[in-house]
Symmetry: none
Subunit: 187 residues, 4 copies
């Protein structure tokens, strides 16, 4: 028997899933609500029972996915810096492979000016947290160098992930091998 609230959850999930895929494929501004509705096989107006606006749908999707991601970033505190770095990269690769749709959308979105305003709080918080984590991988005796190393590592991961999700299916990006390359540089 389907309860009312499970009906609700079903609809909501269908909207989120479809929107995520379409935002990733076409971009946010090129994905009309009508297209989401058509592909999700629901009426146009239904989205507005679950989200107050198209923008709210987007931010909700991002917040939910981000929360999932943050949860899977527990790093072993007792490991050596190099081990931590290795574990971090493994986590990154695992997560980006698992949620490719989301990250494809994310990397397309984070460079859009109007979205930076929309998401500035979430983005800034995540950025600061991540940099702080990455700093623990490097020698704290020279704080400036430590900070710069963290920035660079973040940028590397950024670039690699972007290239991974943007690579066409015909020439996939060898992310596992690239990961090994990175680790080698830090040995």
């Amino acid at each position: 028997m389907e309860t009312k609230s499970s009906v609700r959850e079903n609809s909501r999930a269908k909207i989120v899933e479809t929107a995520l895929e379409l935002f990733a494929r076409n971009g946010y501004d090129r994905t009309p609500i009508s297209m989401i509705a058509r592909i999700a096989n629901i009426a146009q107006g239904l989205m507005y029972r679950y989200f107050p606006s198209k923008e709210a749908l987007l931010t909700e999707i991002i917040k939910e996915s981000m929360a999932d991601v943050q949860a899977s970033f527990d790093v072993n505190k007792d490991a050596s810096p190099l081990e931590k770095l290795e574990e971090y990269l493994n986590n990154v690769v695992r997560i980006i492979k698992t949620n490719r749709h989301f990250w494809s959308m994310f990397y397309a979105l984070r460079t859009q000016p109007f979205l930076q305003e929309l998401l500035s709080d979430e983005l800034a918080e995540m950025y600061v947290n991540t940099i702080a984590t990455l700093e623990t991988f490097f020698d704290p005796r020279d704080p400036e160098a430590q900070h710069n190393e963290a920035l660079l590592l973040f940028s590397i991961v950024d670039g690699v992930c972007t290239n991974y999700v943007l690579a066409p299916e015909s020439t996939p990006y060898p992310i596992e091998e690239i990961k090994e390359c990175i680790i080698n540089k830090y040995r």
Copy 2:
């Protein structure tokens, strides 16, 4: 006295310049032609004398700027691999600092699905060329490793440049220091 063709060049240049700045600031989809016209101080319809459509304006801007960039990427063929890499990074940093508007726009645009179709030929060509150049920086005895190293270097530059143009004015990205960090990793 202003000749006809210089008038033409003036209007055209003003359109390109204004569009570039606005595309960078607001994003392509959020920049109406009317806004470009207003800020460039020309009539709305005038753009269509120079470019057949808004998309054509964009691709033109990108092609022109890309050509400029390619031209400034001559690498000294006789230098050592490390010297080449250093020179390459210097070029990148110099160019991105000089044309920040363009690169800001470029990095916002390259992840947009609809643009990848629009520019796929140019983008693919540039990508292949660049990777080929970067491969010359690495040991050719293991071609697969060589290729992966080139991919990684490209991704690193990608990530660093993206973070540079996205950094808010309040906390600028220390790109010169980061460049040194990178070079250190390759010594």
Copy 3:
């Protein structure tokens, strides 16, 4: 114990009461069914068990309230014209003070073209009845003057009531004093 029909009456009454208040406050076209349902604490769809449409709800409310009003307009047939007029004005003032919500809505609605069609029969009947009553207050020897006096009195009451219900709380309309003014004019 609540019988079935009293439940029915409760829901129905709650809908009518809430709708009346909201129509008065926001206007008919700016009061969604969903808002009535939310404030009346009932389900959206429930209204359609009692009224076939939003328009039907409105006309029902008006008809019911009008009936109440008509009932309280019995004028003493044996009184002098001036006494009749005074009694009539007293009735008007009493009724409008008692059902302020309804009259506030009524005066907002009666000028709306689409409602005039909807209610034209009721409105016309009430209008003719009222004018006929008012005519008994004036000298029948000049029928045209008598009719015009009735029209004028009706208009005066109309204007005074409208201004009363429209007056903001900060500067209430002194309807009792105005009533005395009117009576003085007819002495």
Copy 4:
């Protein structure tokens, strides 16, 4: 030869005229922009080159018409109170006959709650001004009575005008005769 600015004026006037008529006939909320456009024989989007929104179109229409009206309310300062009152009533009747469309719309609009907010400034100012003018018609020795008399006269005019514009063509409202009735009451 038609200049550009006269083209502009033509279009604008056509929009205003059509909107005024339709707002009067159907009510503001029941008059879609698309209907205005269709009847004015212009494209839907054109309105937005002249007015930033539908609401702005309405307030503009009201402001313009109100200004016209205010201008025609010069009362002879040296006349006796009764003469002033007579002149005032003559002005009212003349104006309402001339701009019947506008006043039909105006009386339909002024009772709509959401419009009171929209126009509260204009409405309040006009109200205060008018009451102040009307007070000069009455004996200043009892200020409270004077104020109440002004309120009543305003209400009377209000009611008469409303009934005039609402009267169906089949039974027109004899406004000239009613005007005489009113004057008689004040003799």
